[in-house]
């Protein structure tokens, strides 16, 4: 029996090659997309999941009236440990937050993510140095991840402990590396490239006023976390009072409420942070499911459209004594077979597309590497798609009445017609949203790439440097040496570079009006280096001695904020200094296109912190290569204190990274548009095949009565064009609203374009006419005499 059914199935699939290919191909492409989405969702939702006590680890944070933070005072961890027996482990971490070279005699690495961790936190996160945890002593011990250690000490014989130099060789600090850590932190919330491990990283700090540490706790099984949270909150407030902090700190502490943020939320939706990532992951997941369901429904429709061809078989088998159950099972098995094929092809397509996806989302997804989750998800998925796409056709096919079908009177039901119409309109609606969306995202990106940003990052290089050049005279020497290199136009140093980073904010006062403004500490030639245009007054200049002491330049937005007329010559007060405004520059979009240009005050004198370390050089483009090689070879003599390594970025590339999110979105929209239109076209193909088949008698009668081929084509097309029109009308306002919302996240944006909507309408209509006409052509070519013969 099985052998016979298998033969029928295979011969049938082979006979209807085009349908089979479309059916399996469509499903496999949707499956590929879905598999990638599932991989991505698995990956994003399983940070640290391999930790044995994953469910019992929490980050302690403080909720203030207007924001939440996970920075906590140093003594809190110890207090929790001492007071609550249900807390198994409690400890601190602290990010050191600056970049520095780490070198040995054999190599050099740059650590940008050094982390201090207490041993109790290390236990929670399974950080187990190969050479043992520090003993019960007071100090900190430094550890390096194994690959980095290998770079410093390449030979097998170079076993820890070893001495390394921290910081630039000129003034480096010798430090002992006690061991290595075999840990891939790629998939963990705790990331580091240099680990300082100790039993107490606060060194007995009892200050409840400063919040500089993150506090992790691990609770015992069965702990009432909500109750614990309240207990810790009470403890915190009590301790703050006991510690005798300043009245301001006490007021702040009194208004804040302690919360416990579970480890599983930290990556995607930390309480102290944004849940945007979570939304993106869930939206992608939703999209994946949507695509999958639509593809399954298409599969159903295509199979049903083919049903007439199997009707006779069902009839004969029933006459010969088959039970309905046998037939249902037979068709389900057949569809299962096709789903298996589709799944295999889907896996192949997914494997091919994964590198593209990984590149775009900076993920290490793979079908093969330690994917136990996927291994049980795939069979489940297979079963699900078989049931979703197969159960309806199997029931319909096995339900044919033999007496009717064997006479050749197969009446296909029109009962579910509205559902099919709605489904098709829905499929096209989704495709239209993505096509339109793609064009709108494209336009905005094009605008961002071509629109005047107010400055010229193209020929500026930004050099990594740790030396503080806060005094103009301290930078003079460096400036002169760099300026001598042929091809260098301007050199400057500043506290920030226009790569989207947020400058500091301070209150300034002009003519009695006080308001906050960004401030930036710069050096001579800052505006010239970046090509920022002067609006009135003058730029900073050597000719004016006072410029290094108390001259300020404002941008247009700052002038507007303080509402001053003729600002040049007026006084602006901030950080206890009276500055004289010497000029006003045009606004430039240092933060990208999403936020409006902030009011900014530029000064050379830097009384309030924020060191000037960012060196920028404007280079003649023709001589860029030469300048770079010269800088590299001379760097140690130019930048004597940090001249070991000449490391640089092109400013336009740094600025371009601000577009990364939009570029991701563009790629997602591109794939989604292609996929949804593909699936919609398959749906249309199935539906039009079905309709044409069931109207074949009508078409033949019309032809007998004198209809021309064109009239029949028009008749069949009109029906579908209406559906597509409805789909467009429904999708447009939806797209308009979504696109408008998206565009509103940009301070500088395009006007809502009309063209994408028209393009979507034209694309969908043309596709419809092509697909329907291909199907209709078959019907038109049939000889009416043949169709009507058995009536």
């Amino acid at each position: 029996m099985f052998r016979m059914n298998l033969k029928i199935a295979l011969r049938n699939l082979w006979k209807n090659k085009v349908y089979t290919a479309i059916n399996i191909g469509g499903l496999s492409i949707a499956l590929a997309a879905f598999i990638i989405v599932v991989l991505y969702v698995n990956y994003e939702t399983s940070y640290d999941k391999n930790l044995p006590n994953y469910d019992r680890i929490y980050l302690v944070g403080r909720s203030m009236p207007d924001f939440k933070t996970d920075y906590t005072p140093a003594p809190l961890a110890k207090a929790i440990r001492q007071n609550f027996p249900e807390v198994e482990l409690a400890g601190l971490t602290k990010n050191m937050g600056f970049e520095m070279p780490v070198s040995s005699d054999h190599g050099k690495i740059f650590s940008s993510n050094a982390l201090q961790v207490e041993s109790e936190v290390a236990k929670m996160f399974d950080i187990d140095p190969r050479d043992g945890l520090p003993a019960n002593d007071a100090g900190l011990k430094a550890y390096l991840p194994r690959p980095l250690y290998k770079q410093l000490f390449p030979k097998e014989s170079m076993k820890p402990p070893q001495m390394v130099a921290l910081g630039p060789s000129n003034g480096a600090q010798a430090e002992k590396v006690s061991g290595t850590i075999d840990r891939d932190d790629e998939h963990s919330n705790l990331k580091f490239d240099l680990l300082a491990l100790g039993n107490d990283i606060s060194f007995g700090d009892q200050d409840y006023g400063a919040n500089n540490f993150k506090t992790f706790i691990q609770v015992k099984k069965g702990t009432d976390v909500k109750a614990l949270q309240e207990k810790i909150d009470r403890l915190y407030k009590k301790e703050v009072v006991k510690a005798g902090v300043s009245p301001t700190d006490r007021r702040i502490a009194g208004r804040s409420v302690i919360f416990l943020d579970p480890l599983k939320n930290l990556h995607l939706r930390p309480a102290a942070g944004s849940d945007a990532n979570y939304k993106v992951v869930m939206a992608l997941f939703g999209l994946g499911i949507l695509v999958m369901v639509i593809a399954c429904i298409n599969f159903t429709n295509l199979t049903i459209a083919q049903a007439t061809k199997r009707a006779k078989e069902v009839g004969v088998k029933k006459v010969l004594g088959a039970y309905r159950f046998n037939l249902t099972f037979q068709f389900l098995a057949e569809i299962f077979m096709q789903c298996v094929l589709a799944l295999i092809m889907g896996l192949i397509v997914a494997e091919i597309l994964l590198p593209v996806f990984n590149n775009l989302f900076s993920t290490p997804l793979s079908l093969w590497r330690s994917n136990t989750t996927l291994y049980w998800q795939l069979p489940l998925l297979l079963l699900l798609i078989t049931i979703i796409s197969g159960i309806y056709p199997a029931l319909v096919l096995s339900g044919f009445k033999p007496a009717a079908v064997l006479k050749g009177n197969l009446q296909t039901s029109y009962k579910t017609l509205w559902l099919r119409n709605a489904l098709l309109a829905g499929q096209f609606g989704i495709a239209i949203i993505f096509i339109t969306g793609l064009f709108i995202v494209n336009s905005q990106l094009k605008y961002m790439r071509t629109e005047d940003t107010g400055f010229k990052p193209e020929q500026v290089i930004s050099i990594k440097n740790m030396v503080l050049y806060s005094q103009p005279w301290s930078f003079r020497d460096v400036r002169e040496k760099i300026s001598k290199i042929p091809g260098v136009n301007y050199v400057t140093v500043a506290s920030d570079i226009p790569d989207g980073s947020k400058a500091g904010t301070m209150n300034y006062k002009i003519d009695g009006k006080e308001a906050s403004s960004d401030f930036l500490y710069v050096d001579f030639d800052y505006f010239e280096t970046l090509g920022i245009r002067l609006k009135e007054g003058r730029l900073f200049s050597w000719k004016f001695n006072a410029d290094t002491a108390n001259s300020a330049i404002l941008n247009e937005s700052a002038v507007a904020r303080y509402g001053v007329k003729d600002p040049v010559g007026k006084t602006i007060r901030g950080c206890d200094i009276d500055y004289k405004i010497v000029g006003v520059v045009k606004d430039f979009k240092s933060q990208g296109f999403q936020t409006a240009v902030e009011p900014t005050v530029y000064t050379i004198k830097n009384p309030c912190g924020n060191f000037k370390t960012k060196i920028m050089i404007n280079v003649d483009e023709q001589r860029m290569a030469l300048v770079l090689t010269t800088l590299k070879s001379q760097w140690s003599s130019i930048n004597k204190l940090d001249g070991d390594d000449f490391r640089y970025d092109f400013l336009d590339e740094l600025y371009g990274r601000l577009f990364k999110k939009q570029e991701q979105l563009q790629a997602v929209f591109f794939f989604a548009a292609v996929l949804t239109i593909f699936i919609a076209v398959l749906g249309l193909f199935a539906f039009s095949a079905f309709t044409t088949n069931s109207r074949i008698k009508e078409i033949s009668i019309r032809k007998v009565l004198g209809a021309t081929d064109f009239q029949v084509l028009k008749l069949l097309n009109t029906y579908f064009i209406w559906i597509i029109l409805v789909a467009n009308l429904v999708a447009w306002p939806l797209t308009y609203m979504l696109a408008k919302k998206w565009l509103q996240t940009f301070a500088y944006r395009i006007e809502m374009p009309i063209l994408p909507f028209l393009v979507a309408a034209v694309v969908t209509s043309v596709l419809t006419i092509i697909i329907v006409s291909i199907q209709a052509q078959k019907a038109v070519r049939r000889n009416p005499a043949e169709v009507l013969k058995y009536e």
């Binding site: 033969k7 088998k317 029933k318 006459v319 010969l320 004594g321 309905r324 033999p402 006479k407």
Partner: protein
């Protein structure tokens, strides 16, 4: 063998009810060859479908070898059908994806006959039907007459007590039609009971008894003398 009494079958669509069979009383003896004739729409195919358990009537009773069949559920009907009945259709209804051999084998599979026995039975009937050299062909590769031979072979391979034929010659030219009719006669002579629906009085002349239907009623019933004499 068959005793049908007061049978009534009504087709309902949304607005109208059509009485396809009305108060039908019919007896068929074992070994008989009965033709059912009548104009289009008189209910003859419906009657055949009811007899073949492919359709359920609203009222009446249908005894087959003293078993009442009308109360059976789908599964029981399928079981009864596959053990006792064979079907021959106007449009042959062979499965296009299966070869001649496989088509004939199909009912045996549903009757759970062992593979070796199946092979023997199929080969036997193929030989008897004179289609040995066609057994590996697909239906589309055969002429209409050959296809109908295969269909008859399929109907007979399970050695059914009753063969139901619905216009078996309707799609055939007269010489192929005669061939099939002669085949049916041979079967009948070998003891198989046959009920055949036909338009053609020529075909009907091969049977023992002719029943005329009109508008769902039996309007006449006559013995076919020539044929009966032959039998004697």
């Amino acid at each position: 063998m068959i005793r049908i009494e007061k049978l009534e079958k009504i087709y309902k669509t949304e607005e109208i009810e059509t009485t396809a069979l009305n108060d039908i009383n019919l007896h068929v003896k074992e070994g008989e060859f009965v033709s059912i004739m009548g104009p289009s729409g008189c209910g003859k195919s419906t009657l055949l479908n009811v007899m073949g358990l492919l359709d359920k009537p609203e009222k009446g009773s249908y005894h087959f070898m003293d078993t009442e069949l009308l109360g059976l559920n789908d599964r029981e009907r399928a079981n009864f059908r596959k053990r006792n009945m064979g079907f021959v259709f106007q449009n042959f209804n062979l499965i296009d994806e299966l070869t001649v051999f496989e088509n004939i084998e199909l009912p045996l599979i549903y009757n759970k006959i062992a593979t070796s026995e199946r092979k023997r039975l199929v080969n036997e009937i193929i030989e008897r039907m004179n289609i040995v050299n066609r057994s590996g062909h697909f239906p589309q590769q055969l002429s209409g007459g050959q296809q109908q031979r295969v269909a008859v072979a399929r109907a007979l391979v399970t050695k059914p007590k009753l063969v139901l034929a619905d216009e078996p010659t309707g799609n055939l030219d007269s010489s192929h039609g005669n061939e099939v009719m002669e085949l049916l006669c041979e079967l009948n002579e070998a003891g198989t009971t046959i009920v055949m629906v036909t338009h053609s009085s020529h075909d009907a002349s091969f049977s023992n008894r002719i029943i005329n239907l009109k508008d769902g009623h039996v309007i006449s019933e006559k013995m076919n003398k020539g044929r009966n004499e032959e039998l004697i």
